[in-house]
Symmetry: C2
């Protein structure tokens, strides 16, 4: 039904090879024939057959972006930045210029099965690159499964970049016959590029300093005089959740406030999402009516917590200070404006996109950590002098 390259060739009275060359632009073609071919393409409404092309060239132009929750702006902002970095969308040359990549985002919904499924599907398509965004699940089997899959993808030539996610764990040392066999000639190629590639991580990582950021945030509250600080976590099985909680507790310890049972009592385990934040804040108030501040694992939770406090007749920050994390756009508009840690999501995404396209040199060691910046706003204030 649809026109093929051969049809175009016939129409333009050239060989299929020539048509292929003008379409891919990677080869000299005389201006006259090029024009003729292009006209034939127009007239026949010809559209390149992607699968056929990918098969023959053993390479596709698909770039996959995995996100945990597409309805969450945290991911939307990163994904948008990655995608726009990849699809220049330059006008001219007609839509679908040669070499244009198809950057697509896949929503795992936080499900390990779907994450693996998408990775497999992308592997099937021989994707040019894969970008995984946001926190990873910590279950050992899943980490192993994902690492293995990423290693295979990388081995097949797919570039893998992690954006806002901690580095992959090092693969367990391989003591099999295969690696021992190589030892014999080890000295010969020590230090060569090949040797390096073999041991390098398959992924380039742009990690967020969640732990450090969380620590600085809690230090901010401590500096304001707060001592009874409630903490609302995200989903337990996520690296992001754990790192932020660790940072919070590190700040407490540094201050000499390490009463483990008390700390545990002031921690409510929730999930990302405003409802979770709402409920968790109520629970915190129940457990410890005299707390003076609440730190949430992210901005969305923090806003839910604010709603709960208001419903309880408490005012922010006079009665209770509240802080979030991420600095999503709406945080600035909250009433009062939310104190939070800003993560440069768009910048990180853009950089991840460039890395995926091999248009930027990777950081030394393949891993960079991106700092979070404290945005002290109206939702936090010095602890009030009020009767306990």
């Amino acid at each position: 039904m649809a026109a093929t390259l051969a049809d175009v060739a016939a129409h333009a009275k050239v060989s299929p090879a020539t048509v292929s060359r003008v379409l891919n632009g990677n080869y000299p073609v005389s201006e006259a024939t090029r024009a003729r071919v292009l006209r034939a393409v127009e007239e026949l409404d010809y559209v390149l057959n992607g699968p056929a092309s990918a098969l023959a060239a053993a390479a596709s132009n698909l770039v996959g972006i995995l996100v945990n929750d597409i309805a969450d702006p945290f991911f939307g902002i990163m994904a948008g930045a990655i995608q726009s970095e990849i699809s220049s969308g330059h006008a001219g040359a007609g839509a679908g210029a040669a070499g244009e990549k198809l950057a697509v985002v896949c929503n795992t919904g936080g499900s390990p099965e779907r994450e693996l499924m998408y990775l497999t599907l992308l592997q099937r398509q021989r994707a040019a690159a894969v970008v995984l965004t946001g926190g990873a699940l910590e279950s050992p089997e899943h980490v192993a499964a994902v690492s293995a899959k990423l290693r295979r993808l990388a081995a097949a030539g797919t570039r893998v970049v992690l954006c806002g996610r901690p580095p992959l764990p090092a693969p367990e040392p391989d003591t099999s016959a295969g690696s021992r066999a190589k030892k014999g000639r080890g000295g010969a190629d020590r230090g060569t590029a090949t040797a390096h590639t073999e041991t390098a991580s398959p992924a380039i990582t742009l990690a967020f300093d969640n732990r450090g950021g969380a620590q600085r945030l809690t230090e901010h509250l401590l500096a304001l005089g707060h001592r009874r600080i409630g903490y609302i976590t995200g989903p337990a099985e996520r690296t992001t959740t754990r790192h932020r909680l660790e940072g919070h507790r590190a700040a407490l310890e540094a201050q000499g406030l390490r009463d483990d049972t008390e700390t545990e009592r002031l921690t409510v385990y929730g999930s990302y999402g405003r409802t979770a934040g709402y409920d968790a804040a109520l629970e915190l108030l129940r457990r410890s009516p005299d707390l003076t501040a609440i730190v949430a694992a992210n901005d969305t939770i923090a806003l839910g917590a604010c709603a709960a406090l208001r419903d309880r007749g408490l005012s922010i920050p006079q009665d209770v200070s509240v802080a979030g994390f991420d600095d999503l756009p709406f945080s600035m508009d909250a009433v009062p404006a939310l104190t939070t840690m800003r993560l440069p999501l768009a910048e990180a995404g853009a950089r991840a996109g460039r890395l995926a396209l091999d248009r930027e040199t990777p950081p030394p060691g393949g891993v960079t950590t991106i700092r979070a910046e404290l945005m002290a706003r109206a939702s936090t204030a010095p602890v009030a002098l009020r009767p306990v």
Copy 2:
């Protein structure tokens, strides 16, 4: 480098065809050989070559979802619903079960070039289906270009569904010889499926009743006694913007309030986004300090407007009532909770996903309109009796 189907066949001592059959599961294979093949697949770490498969079968498993702004939850919610409807992500059967579709979202960023580019890229991939979400651009050339492209996609077997977007314009009447030639035997196949298909729109449409919704929202304000109502639009070139504005004005007219210059004075043209809402509200206040209500084209704008009002020392709803549109999750948490029109984004998305998979029968005529529901909350109140 990577194992091929032939490798698996050799390893399992069967023919390539048999391997293909167990992988696709669309053909009877004895339990014994199936197991043998599956084991070979495991041992060789075999992953189907998507492009090759798509080429041979002349069909791919890609489903594209186009969104205008991936960082906007309006689109994120719809896209997530579509995607989860399409990728069952059922555990078991191992990741990447047969027949699993790869649902991917593409962010146009509201750019017509990118919209066309993605459509072309998807056409190249011979996508199984394409879902376009949200308002369309109104520029005649662009509408024509998109329509033409969608018609071609549909002709090539790609299912096209519009979700939260108005129906495609009917193609200009074709008076060419081809269509006239058919007239001769018109009576014979009148009413047959074929005849219907020929004239049917290439796309199935799930439209939102933006006009009606906007009208009911403004009626709500009128019923509260408001007469000087400011309106903040979205980007001018979008259908959504126009329809909502039309609905607003229709309500005004029905009430007999059709002073065109006054209406125009109370309308500020902006863009989606909180900053635009903030600025627009300030402008409205400047033009008409005595207004008692502001209606925004969507929730995000409305929240920006709220911030501006607060900064001006006005309280909501005592001094000014504010209303939005869409009922995004954060609207409920705003202070005060935002009155808005709820659009069933997730439901619409799920339905669009099913339609794209041909798992639900399309509405008669191929078009359905989905109503918006008024969520009257605390940001709107009866107009106060205060000195003008």
